[in-house]
């Protein structure tokens, strides 16, 4: 009898100890001057812009930044949605233009135009011309080409269906990867809802693989598995910056390119709203934006910032930029997958 | 002599085992000794399950079988535990060696049923080993061994796991089966009574060596100490 009681007691104490450690984050006093950010992993990791930006902000304003990495952009959004009644985060970072419809529908953010926002950020980067998301970087999708592979570089999407590229194209799955979705959007923009089925039918034989994520796909590319991979126009800058040469080239297609803009959002019921606004102001300032290119390997949203050498060498902004209706994109992905399964 | 084993030798752990012995058809040699005296090892060397040593020589019915692999020697062995295959019914256990020899199913089932009946196990064919008592299982084990009609059968403490009355009964039956089937037998035991009852000749092992050989009548308990 005593034994049983003891067990129950121990059980209870163990459980409470464990969960006490993680209790009520929102209950923490606001006395500590801080701002809480949910960011996706590529921003928050030590090779992303996050750590450097946060350190600079802390030094400048004395406000402590609690940067929490939450997986990918969708995870950031869904975490925020799930706790919207008692939010812990002030800012969400990593939500891109593709996710925007869902961001809008979730109705958890408040539009905020940072200081000098309309001066330094082009209107084209704004999503639906609003400031629900504050853009902090962007890049267009492009095929990266191994110029030492011995085959001719394609000049447009149609070229990719030529026989010489048989099994020479690495793509990513649009369901599980942003560049994969970006490529799908690209074909939608160029061929329209009615034309993509035929395009993908003729492209199919040339696809070596549709990797589950960018890492896998690009990794294969750097190992020489295939001479073409879908990535960002800014990817070659990394290789130049780290002394790996410039054999990898971002191809500019005559069709134009789709693009991705990443933004930060201010939570409606943010616990530290003023601090958050200060952070957003900082995020698009020249000081912060200078850090962005060689950490995120994307173009800075702030158009007054000068691009680093590595970018100037290889990553020209494409002349023609395409947009896609996000609602149509989901349907298009379905069509593409159906064609591939034939 | 029908079966001879000379210069069996093995160095095992801290003990050196040496043995030489022989037995005739229809006769029983009993090896007696305490546990750890090396008796089981000797049997396994005879059966071919363990290497018999450099200078060993084993003959069966005049043929030198020292180099012949265990399965081909036509020697049977019964262990202390029945060691039945628990995923097979009794009939399949009994008929195992017949199947290995290539006998067709109908024939071997018939033969196995016959033998099972002979050993008092009529009706046990479809049962599972788990459902048998110790004595019954050991009988099945005997059937499994003897059905192949081996010319020499080795018994490694075959009844020591059974209770006293059963042990006595089975020992008596064993002598009868030997008379019927005519095999040469070597029994290993630590039980003195059993040794006296079973053996035509007894040899005592202690610490890996043979310390005494002789007839049951001359066998005294003190030899084991």
């Amino acid at each position: 009898m005593k034994a049983r009681l003891l067990t129950i007691f121990l059980l209870f104490s163990v459980i409470s100890v464990v969960f006490a450690g993680g209790r009520r984050e929102s209950a923490k006093k606001n006395a500590s001057n801080e701002v809480v950010i949910y960011a996706h992993d590529s921003f928050a990791s030590e090779w992303g812009a996050g750590p450097a930006l946060c350190e600079a902000f802390e030094k400048k304003t004395g406000i402590k930044v609690n940067l929490i990495s939450v997986g990918d952009a969708v995870q950031v959004l869904s975490n925020a949605i799930l706790e919207k009644d008692a939010p812990v985060a002030d800012i969400l970072i990593g939500l891109d233009n593709n996710l925007y419809p869902k961001v809008k529908a979730a109705d958890i953010l408040e539009a905020y135009k940072p200081v000098d926002g309309d001066k330094v950020i082009d209107k084209t980067l704004l999503m639906e011309d609003g400031w629900l998301l504050v853009p902090y970087d962007w890049s267009s999708f492009a095929m990266i080409f191994d110029s030492e592979s011995g085959i001719e570089a394609p000049a447009c999407l149609e070229d990719l269906t030529k026989d010489i590229y048989r099994k020479k194209i690495i793509l990513m799955d649009p369901r599980t990867s942003t560049p994969g979705l970006g490529f799908a959007a690209w074909t939608l923009a160029v061929y329209g809802k009615d034309g993509i089925a035929d395009y993908w039918r003729s492209l199919k034989a040339n696809i070596l693989t549709m990797a589950s994520g960018w890492s896998t796909g690009y990794g294969l590319f750097t190992e020489g598995e295939a001479p073409l991979v879908i990535s960002y126009t800014t990817s070659p800058a990394y290789h130049v910056a780290y002394g790996e040469g410039d054999k990898f080239k971002a191809l500019e297609f005559t069709d134009g390119h789709t693009y991705q803009t990443e933004g930060a959002g201010l939570m409606k019921n943010a616990p530290n709203k003023d601090n958050a606004k200060k952070f957003l102001d900082f995020l698009i300032s020249a000081e912060a934006q200078e850090i962005v290119p060689e950490t995120q390997w994307m173009y800075p949203a702030n158009n007054s910032v000068e691009l680093p050498e590595s970018f100037k060498a290889v990553s020209a902004v494409p002349a023609k930029v395409l947009t896609v209706d996000m609602d149509e994109l989901d349907k298009a992905v379905e069509i593409i997958l159906a064609v591939l399964a034939e | 002599m029908f079966f001879t084993a000379d210069n069996l030798h093995m160095d095992w752990e801290s003990v050196s085992i040496d043995f030489s012995g022989s037995v005739d058809s229809g006769r029983m040699l009993v090896i007696v000794g305490h546990s750890g005296s090396g008796k089981s090892t000797v049997l396994k060397m005879m059966a071919g399950l363990l290497p018999p040593g450099k200078n060993a020589r084993i003959t069966l019915d005049g043929t030198d079988i020292t180099k012949i692999p265990a399965g081909k020697r036509h020697i049977g062995m019964v262990f202390q535990s029945p060691a039945l295959f628990s995923h097979m019914r009794i009939i399949d256990n009994a008929a195992y060696s017949l199947a290995a020899a290539g006998m067709r199913r109908k024939e071997r089932y018939e033969k196995a049923s016959e033998w099972l009946a002979r050993f008092g196990l009529d009706g046990f064919e479809k049962r599972w080993p788990d459902s048998l008592s110790g004595g019954e299982a050991q009988r099945v084990s005997l059937v499994r061994t003897l059905i192949a009609e081996p010319r020499l059968v080795l018994f490694d403490e075959p009844f020591s796991a059974l209770d006293a009355p059963l042990r006595k009964k089975l020992s008596e039956e064993l002598r009868q089966w030997q008379k019927q089937l005519g095999f040469a037998g070597i029994v290993v035991t630590h039980d003195i009574e059993e040794a006296r009852a079973l053996g035509d000749e007894i040899t005592v092992m202690k610490g890996g060596r043979q310390v005494w050989s002789g007839l049951p009548a001359d066998f005294k308990e003190s030899l084991l100490v």
Binding site: S69, A211, D330 | K44
Partner: protein, 600 residues
């Protein structure tokens, strides 16, 4: 002291299971909730449209939903059945590739188990220590390894092309169904090898000898006796390989047909892409049910074999002999070399150059230490829980007759990491729980302990019931039996299980990502981030460290557990001493045995 330990153990075990149940239920719950198909509440046009078209259609059609709100019922049910059809096909494909992957793993694993258990040969230790490789590195690196070696531009193809002057790479099997099952099968065969060899090593000598003397050939003995004796462990190992392949994501998508899908991909898409939580819940439930059915199926398959080989002596391993054995060893060894060791080596070579740079970075060393801490922590919890449940199972079902007791503890493995992630996210957010390293340890342990349970239960069954019975009669309390008899006798399995769980925990990057623990990185997460930041060589380097650490851990835990075959000799000695002197006698015997054998 013993009481305290026992209560702690009990508490841990119950806590882990409770935690797991809560998380799993949170993953399935959305399937049954009445709310709209998407996660966004009802204030959006999309949300409203989803409500209108109902759960059957889900977000698949939400783009057109606004238009289709007035659509006819037949259209709706058409779409519903089309979706069911689609899921059915995906499910069948997932099962198919998992099944054949298991077959490959068995084809390599069974002979390997034979050689590791029954034969002595140079390289045996190395083969045995391959046990953990597939578990401890992220699938991304496995894929990279294969590609580096067998890819279009891989070492293999380049060599052949150089030799033959061919223009196009001749070996493209990697990007096909064959590639998938080879990658899965070869990376997982060590699991089967280890599970089966542990049993094989302890098979009763007498039964084998009886079969030999009956004149049966070695192959016949294997076919008619040994296979059945191994059936439960074969089933146990196969389940794990099957589940691993069933839930595999990266490799299937990479090597499979473009646009192909598995159940896991579908759940991922619903939970993380379209944010259709209800559909995600339904898919998660379907996937888990299917996986559970397979767990049940495999365990039932293994039922025919004998459960307990308690306290019997087994044949010690001998040198490889006979032409057939040498040939088999050569073939298996060659296959393993070609399809496992070399791709692994490819990763190591690619990463070797980066090792110095990696070790000089503070964040790397921190990640390494964190990994050591969390993996050892979660492995300890796993082992404690597994031991606890093994003791419970031992008391409740001593002869292993009950299928329920074999199946239920394995069921947690039927829940995939994405489903758990989905559930965990829901739990964490709704209850406002932050991610902490302790959470990581607990979650990992909650998912992995069934693996440990399998091994420990197997070892515990090898303790003769008589020993336990006598011990219970002579001991002052039940705990005595557990601590002085069952614990020492399952040592080897406990160590082995510990190493396995540590490897799995070290190789998991999914949970750290979901938990989002601030300023805390494990090596696996570190590797994942390197790969995401263009630093592939460094990722390979980091992966190399993981591989080497886990191989070392395995070798070390094998050493700690005792010499080969020690288990059975110890058990036999135990039985003898019990007969003579009860528990105290057994204690003394154990001490004597230890001093005699460990000293040497």
């Amino acid at each position: 002291m013993k009481q305290f330990a026992a209560f702690c153990g009990t508490a841990v075990a119950v806590l882990l299971v409770l935690f797991f149940c809560v998380t799993a239920v949170s993953a399935f719950a959305p399937a049954f909730s009445g709310d709209s198909g998407t996660a966004f509440g009802t204030s959006s046009s999309m949300g409203a449209a989803s409500v209108a078209t109902g759960s059957a259609v889900g977000s698949d059609e939400s783009a057109d939903a606004a238009v289709k709100v007035a659509a006819s019922d037949t259209q709706k049910s058409d779409a519903f059945w089309r979706r069911i059809d689609k899921i059915k096909n995906i499910l069948f494909f997932t099962i198919k590739q998992a099944f054949f992957s298991t077959v490959v793993a068995l084809i390599i694993g069974l002979p390997a188990a034979f050689f590791v258990a029954c034969r002595k040969f140079p390289g045996r230790r190395f083969l045995a220590s391959l046990s953990s490789v597939s578990l401890c590195i992220p699938p991304l690196l496995i894929a990279l390894g294969y590609v580096i070696f067998f890819g279009m531009n891989g070492v293999f193809n380049r060599t052949v092309m150089a030799l033959t002057g061919a223009k196009e790479p001749p070996f493209t099997f990697l990007y096909s169904f064959a590639g998938i099952i080879i990658a899965h099968g070869f990376y997982n065969f060590p699991i089967i090898m280890r599970t089966v060899s542990d049993t094989w090593r302890n098979l009763p000598e007498d039964e084998y000898n009886a079969a030999v003397l009956s004149g049966a050939s070695k192959f016949r003995i294997f076919r008619t006796v040994t296979l059945f004796q191994l059936a439960p462990s074969i089933a146990g190992g196969s389940v794990i390989v099957f589940l691993y392949s069933f839930f595999s994501f990266v490799i299937v998508l990479l090597f499979g047909q473009a646009g192909g899908s598995t159940m896991e991909v579908e759940v991922y898409q619903a939970a993380k892409n379209t944010l259709d939580f209800k559909y995600a819940g339904q898919l998660a439930l379907t996937e888990t049910t299917a996986a559970s059915l397979f767990v049940v199926g495999y365990v039932l398959l293994g039922k025919k074999g004998r459960r307990t080989h308690a306290g019997v002596s087994s044949l010690p391993p001998v040198r490889v002999h006979g032409a057939a054995e040498y040939a088999l060893l050569a073939v298996i060894g060659g296959a393993i070399l070609l399809f496992l060791v070399l791709p692994l080596a490819a990763i190591v070579f690619t990463g070797a150059g980066e090792l110095i740079k990696l070790f000089s970075q503070r964040s790397f060393s921190t990640a390494l230490l964190n990994t050591v801490a969390t993996s050892l922590g979660s492995a300890s919890l796993c082992v404690v829980t597994a031991f606890f449940f093994a003791c419970v199972a031992r008391r409740a079902d001593p002869y292993g007759k009950s299928v329920v007791f074999r199946i239920v503890p394995l069921l947690p493995m039927a829940v995939s990491s994405i489903v758990i992630g989905f559930g965990l996210t829901n739990v964490m957010r709704r209850f406002h729980i932050a991610g902490t390293p302790v959470m990581l340890v607990i979650t990992q342990a909650a998912l992995t302990w069934p693996l440990a349970f399998q091994q420990v239960r197997g070892a515990m069954e090898r303790i003769p019931m008589t020993v336990t019975d006598v011990a219970s009669l002579l001991s002052p309390s039940r705990l005595d039996v557990i601590f002085r008899v069952q614990l020492p006798q399952t040592r080897r399995a406990l160590f082995s299980a510990f190493a396995f769980c540590a490897a799995i925990s070290a190789g998991d990057s999914n949970l750290p990502l979901i938990l989002g623990i601030p300023r805390f990185e494990t090596l696996s997460l570190y590797t994942y981030r390197l790969a995401g930041a263009y630093r592939f060589a460094a990722a390979c380097g980091s992966g190399t460290v993981l591989i080497i650490s886990s191989m070392v851990l395995f070798a070390f835990s094998d050493k700690l557990a005792g010499r080969h075959g020690a288990e059975t000799r110890m058990v036999r000695g135990f039985v003898r001493s019990f007969v003579r002197g009860g528990v105290r006698g057994a204690d003394k015997a154990r001490k004597v045995w230890r001093s005699k054998h460990m000293g040497r």
